[in-house]
C-alpha cells in the first residue's frame, strides 16, 4: 500500500512543470515522508467536513518563540491594554487547531534554526547548521551536497505557479528564511565572503546568490528583511550607514541582478517602501538594514526608517494576492531569538507582540475559507515564568503573591536572603550576577534593557529543547493536532496547496472553486 501511495505521489510530482526533477523521483524519498504521510492519514480522519484545499498559505515563524515566550507576551500585551493580562490572547492564540511539535534534529537534542526550519519547510529532519539538505550532508562540505537536496514548500509552490514571498526581521539570508529557498551545507555561508576556500574555489553559490538566482517558477516575488551588506560588494558604500560597505568579495551587486526582472523594485528605507505600489510591482526586494533589522522596541530610532513586520506582511500580501493561482508567504519574527540570547526578556516579548500584530494583519487581509495560516516557532528558549505572582502582577516586575486570605500581599515575595525576585528569569545567560544576588527592591525590572537574572553564567543564553506550539487556521488546519514531529507543518501546508499529490475531499459544488 505504501508503494502504491508513493507511485501516486511520484506521478503528481512528475507532472509539475519546471521542477527540474527527473521523472520517477519521489517526493523527498525519506523515512520522514512515510511518517509524515501516515500522520496526515490519521489527521484526515478528524474533522471530515472541513475544507482541505487552500488558495494561499502563510507560515509565521517566531524564532525562539517557545511556549513561555508566548505566555509572557500574551500577558504583557494584555497588561499594556490595561488589563490583568493572563486572560488575553495573542492574535494567533485564537486559532482553532493546535499541536505541540518536537524540535530535535537528527543530531541535536536542542536544535538551532537551520535544521528546525528545514524540517518545517521540507518535511525532513536534518543535522545542525544544514539548510534544506538531508542528513547525509557533512556540515561545511560542499562536495556532499549533490543528490541530497530537499525540495521546499516554497519551491513546490513556485513550480505550481503560485506567487511566493519571504519576510523577516533578521537578515533575509539568515537560517530561517534561507531554508525556504537555499540549499547549503553551512548556514553561515550567507555571502561569498563566508564560503570556505574550497567552496569558493568550486563556485558553490552562497545563500544571497541562491536567493537572487532562484530558478523555480518565475522566481520569488517578494523578499523583505535585513542583510543588505550580503548583497553588495565590499567596494560599494552602504546607503544608510556612513563608513560601512557591502561584504561581497566577488564584486557583484545582487540588487542589480534582482532589478533585471520585469516590474521589479528594490528599496532600503521606509519612505521608499511606503511608495511601492503593490499593484504595479511584480518583484519586490527590500533590504532595510545592513545586517538584522531593529528590535521593534528600537525601530523608531533607525537612521533611515524601517517598516514594521506588520507593514512588511501587509505589503507582501498586497503584491502576492494579485496572483490568481494563489500564494505562499513565510514571515519570520527573527529577533525574538536574539533578544533571548542577550537575556533581555522585554525586547523578546515586544517582538513577539509585533509578530502577533503581523498575524492580525494577515487575518484582516485574507479569507479563512481560502487561506491557511500557521504560526509556530523553530525552537524555544530558557525563559521561565516562576514564583506565585498574583493575578495581574506585572509580568516584567517582581513577584507579589497572595496573602493567607487570598488578597494581594503587602510587599514583594522575598528569597532566603530577604530580597525580591522577578517573575521572569533565565536558566542561563548574561543575566547571571556574580556573588550575592542583587537587591532588586529599587530596580526598575521593567526597563527596556533590564537583563533578567540567570542561574548559570553564559555570555549568551541558549536555546531550549522542549516542544513548541503550532497554531493553525483555515483549510486543512484540522490536520494540526496532538504531539507531532516538527515536520508536520510541511505536510499540512503541502496538503492544503494540493502539492502532495493526494486527492481532496472538498465538494466544490458546495464551496465553489474557493468559496
Amino acid at each position: 500500500m505504501n508503494k502504491l501511495r508513493n507511485i501516486g505521489v511520484v506521478a503528481a510530482i512528475a507532472a509539475l512543470p519546471g521542477l527540474g526533477y527527473a521523472a520517477g523521483r519521489p517526493l523527498n524519498d525519506s523515512p520522514w515522508t512515510e511518517a509524515g504521510l501516515a500522520a496526515i492519514d490519521r489527521a484526515a480522519r478528524l474533522g471530515a467536513h472541513h475544507r482541505e484545499r487552500a488558495k494561499n498559505v502563510i507560515l509565521f515563524v517566531g524564532d525562539g518563540m517557545g511556549v513561555s515566550t508566548v505566555t509572557a507576551a500574551r500577558i504583557l500585551e494584555g497588561q499594556q491594554r490595561g488589563r490583568p493580562g493572563e486572560e488575553n490572547a495573542l492574535s494567533f492564540e485564537r486559532f482553532p487547531y493546535l499541536s505541540l511539535v518536537k524540535t530535535y534534529s537528527v543530531n541535536q537534542q536542542t536544535s538551532d534554526s537551520a535544521p528546525t526550519m528545514t524540517a518545517m519547510v521540507t518535511g525532513v529532519k536534518t543535522k545542525d547548521g544544514i539548510l534544506a539538505l538531508d542528513e547525509d550532508v557533512v556540515r561545511g562540505d560542499h562536495t556532499t551536497v549533490r543528490g541530497n537536496e530537499l525540495t521546499t514548500i516554497l519551491e513546490l509552490a513556485e513550480a505550481r505557479g503560485l506567487a511566493t514571498g519571504i519576510v523577516s526581521t533578521a537578515r533575509i539570508t539568515h537560517a530561517t528564511p534561507a531554508a525556504c529557498y537555499a540549499h547549503s551545507p553551512e548556514r553561515d555561508w550567507e555571502s561569498d565572503a563566508e564560503l570556505s576556500e574550497a567552496a569558493r574555489a568550486a563556485g558553490f553559490p552562497d545563500i544571497a546568490r541562491q536567493l537572487v538566482e532562484f530558478s523555480h517558477g518565475d522566481g520569488i516575488e517578494v523578499v523583505l528583511g535585513g542583510g543588505r551588506e550580503y548583497f553588495l560588494p565590499v567596494e560599494l558604500a552602504d546607503p544608510e550607514n556612513a563608513g560601512a560597505t557591502g561584504r561581497r568579495t566577488d564584486g557583484r551587486d545582487l540588487t542589480k541582478h534582482w532589478l533585471k526582472q520585469k516590474r521589479a523594485a528594490y528599496v532600503w528605507n521606509k519612505q521608499a517602501f511606503d511608495a511601492v505600489d503593490p499593484h504595479k510591482t511584480d518583484h519586490l526586494l527590500g533590504l532595510f538594514e545592513r545586517s538584522h533589522m531593529q528590535y521593534e522596541a528600537d525601530r523608531a530610532r533607525d537612521t533611515a526608517g524601517e517598516p514594521s513586520i506588520a507593514e512588511m506582511t501587509a505589503k507582501a500580501i498586497d503584491v502576492l494576492k494579485r496572483r490568481d493561482e494563489g500564494f505562499f508567504l513565510m514571515v519570520e519574527g527573527g529577533r525574538i531569538d536574539h533578544a533571548h540570547h542577550a537575556g533581555n526578556a522585554r525586547r523578546a516579548l515586544e517582538d513577539t507582540i509585533a509578530l502577533a500584530e503581523a498575524v492580525k494583519v494577515a487575518l484582516e487581509k485574507t479569507d479563512e475559507r481560502d487561506t491557511q495560516i500557521l504560526v509556530t516557532a523553530d525552537h524555544s528558549h530558557v525563559l521561565t515564568i516562576a514564583g506565585y505572582p498574583a493575578r495581574g502582577n506585572d509580568i516584567l516586575g517582581k513577584v507579589i503573591t497572595l496573602d493567607d486570605r487570598g488578597e494581594i500581599a503587602e510587599g514583594y515575595a522575598l528569597d532566603g536572603a530577604r530580597k525580591p525576585y522577578t517573575t521572569l528569569s533565565y536558566a542561563n545567560g548574561p543575566g547571571y550576577r556574580e556573588g550575592e544576588r542583587p537587591d532588586l527592591t529599587d530596580v526598575d525590572t521593567g526597563a527596556l534593557s533590564f537583563l533578567q537574572e540567570a542561574a548559570v553564567p553564559l555570555a549568551a543564553e541558549t536555546h531550549a529543547g522542549e516542544d513548541v506550539a503550532l497554531y493553525a487556521r483555515g483549510p486543512s488546519a484540522q490536520l494540526v493536532h496532538g504531539s507531532q514531529e516538527q515536520t508536520i507543518g510541511f505536510y499540512v501546508m503541502a496538503h492544503a496547496l494540493g502539492l502532495d499529490g493526494r486527492p481532496s475531499t472538498d465538494d466544490d459544488s458546495l464551496f465553489g472553486r474557493w468559496f
Binding site: 538551532d112 561584504r247 531593529q294 530610532r301 537612521t303 534593557s449 555570555a459
Partner: protein, 229 residues
C-alpha cells in the same frame, strides 16, 4: 585568590560609567599608555582619538576596541581580533540591549568630566615633555584614586586606582597629534566580521565559543555590562 584585572576590563569599566559630555571636542591624539599591576606583565594601550572614532589598541594581545559615534550620538562598536581573523560588530541596538553604553567622553579620555569634578585638586606639576598637568585625588568607582590630568590634551598623564597589591597604574608614555597611518582606522579587510547578535547561534564556531566563554577571571560581555550598571 586575588583576581587580576585585565587592561580591557579596566579601560571598559572606567569608560562604562555614565557622565556628561565635554563641552568642546578634545583634540585628535595618538597616545600610548602602559598598564602596570603587581604580579602581572606590563601591558600597553594605544588610544586613538580621531573625531567621531575612538580606538583602544591593546598591543600585547593585538586586539582593538573601536567605537564610532554617528551624527545622532548613537554608538557603534567593533572588537577586532586580527590573530583570530575575526571581528565582532555591535550595533547601537545590541549595545542598548546588553546595557553596554559607555559615555563618549569617557571612551575618549578614560576619565570623564564628572569623575574629575569629583576629585580634589592637589596642585600641578610637569608631565611628559614639560606639559602642565593637574594632580587630583579622591575616589573613582569606590576605590582610592590619583589622577594626573593634562588639560591641554584632555588626557590622563597618569592614573592610579586602588591600593596595595590590587593597585592598577596607567601611565602615558607617548603622545602625538593624530596624523597619517598611525591614526588611520585599524584595518579589518582581512577579518571576518561577526554580528554580536549572531553569536548565540554559533556554539559550533571555535572563535564564537571562546568569545562567549572566556577563561575564568576574564570579563564576559554580560558581566562587564552588569558590573558597569
Amino acid at each position: 585568590m586575588r583576581r587580576l584585572r585585565s587592561l580591557p576590563f579596566v579601560a571598559l569599566s572606567i569608560a562604562a560609567l555614565g557622565t556628561t559630555a565635554l563641552a568642546e571636542p578634545p583634540p585628535s591624539v595618538w597616545a600610548r599608555y602602559v598598564l602596570l599591576q603587581k604580579g602581572a606583565a606590563a601591558e600597553h594601550l594605544v588610544l586613538v582619538r580621531a573625531g567621531d572614532r575612538i580606538e583602544h589598541r591593546y598591543l600585547e594581545r593585538g586586539e582593538t576596541d573601536l567605537w564610532r559615534r554617528d551624527a545622532r550620538g548613537e554608538l557603534e562598536h567593533l572588537k577586532l581580533y586580527p590573530r583570530a581573523g575575526r571581528a565582532v560588530h555591535f550595533t547601537p541596538g545590541d549595545l542598548r540591549t546588553i546595557s553596554l553604553t559607555p559615555s563618549w567622553d569617557r571612551l575618549s579620555a578614560l576619565v570623564s568630566d564628572r569623575e574629575r569634578a569629583g576629585l580634589v585638586a592637589e596642585g600641578s606639576k610637569r608631565a611628559l615633555g614639560g606639559r602642565t598637568a593637574t594632580v587630583l585625588s579622591g575616589r573613582l568607582r569606590g576605590q582610592p584614586a590619583r589622577l594626573t590630568w593634562l588639560p591641554e590634551l584632555a588626557l590622563p598623564a597618569g592614573l592610579s586606582i586602588g591600593r596595595g597589591e590590587a593597585r592598577v597604574v596607567l601611565r602615558l608614555v607617548q603622545v602625538d597629534a593624530c596624523s597619517g597611518e598611525r591614526c588611520a582606522e585599524a584595518p579589518r579587510g582581512a577579518l571576518r566580521v561577526l554580528e554580536f547578535a549572531d553569536l548565540g547561534d554559533m556554539e559550533h564556531d571555535p572563535f564564537a565559543r571562546s568569545f562567549l566563554h572566556p577563561p575564568h577571571g576574564a570579563p564576559t560581555i554580560g558581566a562587564t555590562s552588569a558590573t558597569a550598571r
